[in-house]
């Protein structure tokens, strides 16, 4: 620690602190323009000048100068104020000062400092910039005339996002922030640059001219897309969510968001939202009152209950709050007497509910998000972890670049993570993940690298035997990696003091199920890397509340039917009533034909959703539900973080929250009084779900809580499924596109502007052989169907392997993929 004096205050700070940090710790504000706590110090703007007595009163930038023992600092002498005024005058010289039409007004550091330092006349004169404004992309407007050259956009895009869209170009007075070839911005559109720009040089186009900054009501919540659990602040006015607001103090991610979180909020106030309940009459869905709809649903449910409950089932999205999930589980168990309730087709969560549950003793990750940056080595399964959970991706970027974490990726394709410094990507043949991970475990045993704790774990002998078949030499050819490479990876993993495994889950990744989770668990347990900081396995649940759905038992626990069996039951007629809450099986579950046929057979299909989805269109009753912005409750994200969701707007139109719908139905069926509110349900969750014991909603505060987990390790042999290559065909692997998450993002303008339709991605060599160019439409044909998709040609895909994201309705990939990790397809123009 170092002691120093700032404006006569004694401060003690760590020795790597800067004067700026020290002042902040002492509650003294030093104005900044180019500094950002998340970025490397830059020292470009000179706004933060202070005087240091030991340096004979010389003015130095506080944001870059490290503290030294006994330093005496003054932050606001007359000289300093003069200097800061001068900095502002020089900046205003070129700045257009078009505040009346600038969206940053009110939230602009330059405007605020100009006001604070009373710079109302300029001693200098110069011409203004004449840069062309970049209106080309739909999300970010770039007006370089307003730029003050703080470099924050370029730095954040490099340091955290690792996209590197911007650079300083030209020299001298011509210098400006530019993109490659000074062309229009064409990037990930995460909006990080917009969020840190201190002025209005980078603004969000969807928010442009929507509202003045100071007129917005700001409500803290949690992103409702992926499982990362990013906190966000919604900017609300007139019952509309108009924007997301950057708050560098929110969450583990310091306010960073991905494109979905930042620009995908428009689904909330989308004009495609359902405005009233719908009831099928004479074959078509017609508007109805809530009374009519609920009376009908209740009657059918009572019928189902009286019939013993076996004929009713539920498919529930893990996007609901914990409280809603609790209610629907209770509705099925206590209200209807049915255990047939599931989410995400069973594929997307089996890694947790079956894999982790058996291997670690509970359906949760033994690791948390902060383990990423605390690891020495990261073993990521599939580069797709960046696409499925982009802000987890930022954590990986930061860890690799700042802490030199050794990044190893086993993947069927290359990706953005592969480009990080020194990252090694082991590109294996599609569908060979389990075999490869088993081989890694086999090497640990063969080399005697297992931890001393491993031999005592149940199932050790059995595992040892099973793994004999997975010696690297035996599986190398099938995996497409040579045996020595596999051995090196295994040894490096074992030898790292702290190593974390990351596994993204989701409907697009049918191979990331129980077996893969168990193979990874075995590897971590064998090397003793569980239950320690920077170690373990981090399962990335696909949706915002995937972990909550696992915690609350939204999967068949007592012999009920899982999603697959539910669909079979619908088909065979044993399931007559189906409640679909927020799921869209038609587009997202494997084998679209089968799903549609099954749903068409159901006697009574109720769908609760925000939109008339492909699934809702088949319903007998459609109930308009609410988005996350219209409700309060909790989500549990990756790494077991429970966080509060706060209602920002009143329900849109006649919509009612799933909470209200389920609460009413439950009370009707059981005769019990409805729950008062989310807090009352949360109290019951805390009383019945051990991990939540002792928690209250109010007690979660802004930071949330990390649920405890106790690991009861067990070795379970991970079974491999045979992958039989079909000659002359391509291996199609499915997954998530960076801009989308599930099928909800299709109703967000942002994601749809950037990535409006499905595509098939192929490598350059394959494209050349097929004579296919980027943007051509190609026919992709599998045993179960044919699709026409736009071709995307790039460098990511190995020869013979193609990728398609799921999300989309038109050209939905599930009409050719039926749930196997690899689908063999032929491609033609």
């Amino acid at each position: 620690m170092v002691n120093l004096t700032i404006d006569d205050k004694q401060v003690t700070v760590p020795k790597d602190a800067t004067i700026f940090d020290a002042a902040k710790a002492a509650g003294i504000r030093i104005p900044i323009l180019c500094h950002d706590k998340k970025l490397h110090p830059f020292g470009g703007c000179r706004m933060c000048l202070v005087e240091v007595e030991q340096m004979k009163g010389r003015q130095i930038p506080a944001c870059t100068t490290p503290v030294t023992e006994g330093m005496i600092v003054r932050t606001t002498t007359d000289e300093i104020i003069k200097a800061r005024k001068m900095v502002l005058e020089l900046l205003l010289l070129k700045h257009p000062i078009d505040c009346p039409v600038c969206d940053a007004a009110g939230d602009c550091d330059l405007q605020n400092l100009t006001y604070e330092y009373k710079v109302n006349a300029n001693r200098f004169q110069d011409e203004k910039f004449q840069h062309k404004i970049d209106y080309e992309n739909p999300l970010i407007e770039r007006d370089m005339n307003r730029c003050i050259h703080c470099g924050k956009c370029a730095r954040i895009c490099d340091e955290i996002v690792s996209f590197g869209a911007y650079t300083f170009m030209n020299r001298g007075i011509e210098a400006k922030i530019g993109t490659e070839f000074d062309g229009p911005l064409n990037c990930e559109f995460c909006g990080s640059c917009v969020s840190v720009c201190p002025v209005g040089a980078l603004v969000s186009r969807p928010f442009k001219f929507k509202a003045r900054w100071w007129s917005l009501n700001k409500v803290k919540s949690v992103c409702s897309y992926c499982g990362t659990g990013c906190q966000l602040t919604l900017g609300v006015k007139d019952n509309k969510v108009l924007t997301t607001i950057y708050d560098e103090n929110q969450g583990f991610h310091n306010g960073q968001l991905c494109t979905r979180g930042r620009f995908g909020y428009q689904f909330v106030n989308s004009d495609k939202r359902l405005s009233t309940p719908l009831i099928r009459k004479n074959g078509t869905l017609q508007p109805a009152s809530w009374d009519e709809a609920l009376t009908l649903v209740s009657a059918k449910l009572v019928e189902a209950k009286n019939a013993g409950g076996k004929s009713v089932a539920g498919l529930v999205t893990p996007r609901l709050t914990n409280e809603e999930l609790f209610l629907i589980k209770k509705l099925f168990k206590d209200g209807l007497g049915s255990d047939s309730i599931d989410h995400s087709a069973g594929y997307a969560h089996a890694a947790l509910t079956a894999g982790a549950a058996e291997s670690f003793g509970s359906a949760a990750s033994p690791s948390v998000i902060s383990d990423i940056q605390n690891a020495d080595l990261l073993l990521v399964v599939k580069t797709d972890a960046y696409e499925t959970h982009p802000v987890v991706g930022f954590e990986i970027n930061l860890g690799v670049k700042r802490k030199e974490i050794d990044l190893r990726i086993i993947s069927d394709k290359r990706g953005k993570l592969s480009k990080l410094p020194k990252a090694v990507t082991y590109v294996h043949k599609p569908g060979q993940e389990v075999a490869l991970v088993n081989a890694l475990a086999q090497v640990l045993l063969a080399d005697n690298l297992q931890d001393s704790t491993a031999t005592g774990v149940e199932g050790f002998e059995g595992l040892k035997q099973q793994l004999e078949a997975f010696a690297p030499e035996k599986i190398a050819a099938a995996c497409g990696l040579d045996a020595d490479t596999i051995k090196t990876l295994a040894r490096d993993y074992a030898k790292a003091a702290k190593a974390l495994i990351i596994l993204p889950l989701g409907l697009g990744y049918p191979g990331h199920g129980k077996a893969l989770a168990q193979a990874l668990a075995n590897l971590a347990l064998l090397s003793g890397k569980v239950g320690k900081e920077g170690c373990g396995v981090l399962f990335l649940g696909e949706k915002n509340n995937s972990q909550g759905a696992a915690d609350l038992g939204i999967y068949p626990t007592a012999g009920g039917a899982d999603a697959d069996a539910i669909l079979a039951g619908c088909q065979s007629g044993s399931i007559k009533t189906l409640i679909v809450a927020g799921e869209n099986p038609v587009v997202s579950y494997p084998d679209r034909k089968r799903v549609e046929a099954a749903l068409d057979k159901v006697e009574f299909l109720v769908v609760q959703d925000l939109f008339l989805t492909e699934t809702a269109a088949k319903a007998h009753v459609v109930l308009p539900a609410c988005s996350f912005a219209e409700k309060s409750g909790t989500f549990t994200s990756v790494g077991r973080a429970v966080q509060q969701v706060n209602q920002a707007i009143k329900p849109v139109g006649e919509a009612r929250s799933d909470f209200a719908i389920l609460n009413g139905l439950l009370a009707g069926l059981t005769g019990n009084a409805p729950y008062a509110d989310a807090a009352a349900v949360f109290a019951e969750i805390a009383a019945t779900v051990p991990a939540y014991a002792g928690l209250t909603i109010a007690g979660l505060g802004d930071t949330g809580a990390i649920l405890p987990v106790t690991v009861k390790p067990r070795f379970v042999a991970a079974e491999t499924a045979a992958v039989t290559a079909e000659s002359g065909k391509f291996a199609l692997v499915t997954g998530s596109a960076l801009y989308h998450c599930g099928t909800m993002s299709r109703f967000g303008e942002g994601p749809m502007h950037v990535c409006p339709e499905g595509y098939v991605e192929l490598g350059r060599d394959d494209a050349q052989a097929l004579n296919v160019k980027d943007g051509d439409t190609v026919a992709v044909k599998s045993a179960s169907g044919e699709l026409r998709l736009k071709a995307k040609v790039g460098t990511r895909m190995p020869q013979g392997v193609v990728f398609a994201p799921y999300h989309f309705d038109e050209a939905s990939v599930n009409s050719i993929a039926v749930g196997a990790p690899v689908t063999w397809v032929s491609i033609s123009k």
Binding site: E136, N137, D158, F163, G164, A165, Y166, T167, F168, M169, N170, R171, G178, T179, E180, F181, D182, G183, P184, L185, N186, C187, E188, F189, K416, K419, L738, V754, C755, P756, Y759, K792, T795
Partner: protein, 169 residues
């Protein structure tokens, strides 16, 4: 990684082989970006866009960063350059001796302006500051050859002369 429309770049198909050779040569050298870009410019006469993408991919640097370097140093050219680079001095001495008229005549006869290249890639024209040979004002240069005491007549002669010369180096 994005689907936003890429900027249309008017490039004839560029053969990347020479660029790949240059990259191979410096691949393991630390700080290899500058020599690679110089090497590519030597090969192609400018730095074509596809080679920037290639360098970005093979050296794992952002294309934007390469663009930043290319625009920072005056020595780099992003557009194809003519086989013959005509430079006319517009320094003070040359100016007084009538450089503006020489410049105008070149513009007229070549049909291009400052820092532009004829469509057939034969000529690039540039105005430059004092070339340090004020005694020969007004001064012009074509590649490495110097032409002193320029006149309007001589402009025609120079163009005629270089129009006959082979395009191959």
């Amino acid at each position: 990684m994005s689907n936003a429309p890429a900027e249309e770049i008017p490039t004839a198909d560029i053969d990347l082989e020479a660029a790949n050779h240059v990259i191979d040569k410096y691949l393991t050298l630390p700080g290899n970006l500058m020599p690679v870009l110089q090497g590519i410019q030597d090969e192609y006469g400018y730095v074509p866009k596809p080679t920037i993408d290639l360098v970005a991919e093979r050296l794992n640097v952002y294309p934007s960063q390469i663009y930043g370097v290319l625009t920072f140093y005056a020595q780099f050219h992003l557009k194809p350059r003519g086989r013959f680079i005509i430079r006319v001095c517009v320094g003070t001495a040359c100016h007084v001796q009538g450089a503006p008229r020489i410049v105008e005549t070149f513009f007229d006869k070549l049909g291009i302006g400052h820092a532009e290249t004829t469509p057939d890639l034969r000529f690039t024209f540039e105005k430059v500051a004092c070339l340090g040979a004020c005694g020969m004002a007004p001064l012009a240069m074509v590649n490495d050859s110097t032409y002193g005491s320029m006149t309007v007549q001589k402009v025609g002669d120079i163009i005629a002369d270089y129009s006959q010369r082979p395009m191959k180096k």
